[in-house]
Amino acid sequence: MQDQISQKLTAAFAPEHLEVINESHMHNVPAGSESHFKVVLVSDSFKGKMLIARHRLVNATLADELKNGIHALALHTMTTEEWFAKGNAPESPPCMGGDGTNT
């Protein structure tokens, strides 16, 4: 799943920087799960686009994965310029107990 996400995002956005981090271990799911991901995507194709438009593009690119397996997708979308200005993407929150497999 992790590789698949990377491949699709690379093909769609030609990113300057891409991190796909499996954060499933932080959640209420069986060991080895690939359900919770954080994506840091730096691409100049985001220039001039509002955050919601950027997220919609990513959601559309990963529509199949979101339907079949991805439970949570933390998304940090930046242009190269914003990436340099900001430094780093924020930490994802810890699980608070809700069922992370079916819901």
Binding site: L51, A72, S92, C95
Partner: protein, 106 residues
């Protein structure tokens, strides 16, 4: 099916600020929902909420209401603002409070 979309639509339109989340503002059941609702609370205005874990119909159909696949979802003045990451980023840069103050006068 049409009924549930109408129910969602009513909640979105009847609340200037509305969040669909896992759990409640007092007891969030997901870290992403918890952080998002905290940002709304810190803006200091009233908002409506719906616990999607307590309403299977809304849980299953909300993603297609605004074509947004994940929870939480925040709506201001009937428009989807975004999920956790967008709401938090807008909270941090001050845009969220501006939008909420505009949507909820007084």
């Amino acid at each position: 099916m049409a009924d549930v979309l109408q129910r969602i639509d009513e909640q979105v339109k009847n609340n200037a600020v509305m969040i669909f989340m896992k759990g409640t503002p007092q007891f969030p059941q997901c870290g992403f929902s918890g952080r998002t609702v905290d940002a709304l609370k810190q803006c200091g205005k009233e908002f409506g909420y719906c616990n999607v874990l307590a309403d299977q119909e809304i849980f299953q159909n909300l993603p297609r209401y605004a074509d947004w696949p994940t929870f939480p979802q925040v709506y201001i003045k009937g428009e989807l603002v975004g999920g956790c990451d967008i709401t938090l980023e807008m909270f941090q840069n001050g845009d969220l409070k501006k939008m909420i103050d505009e949507a909820v006068p007084g």
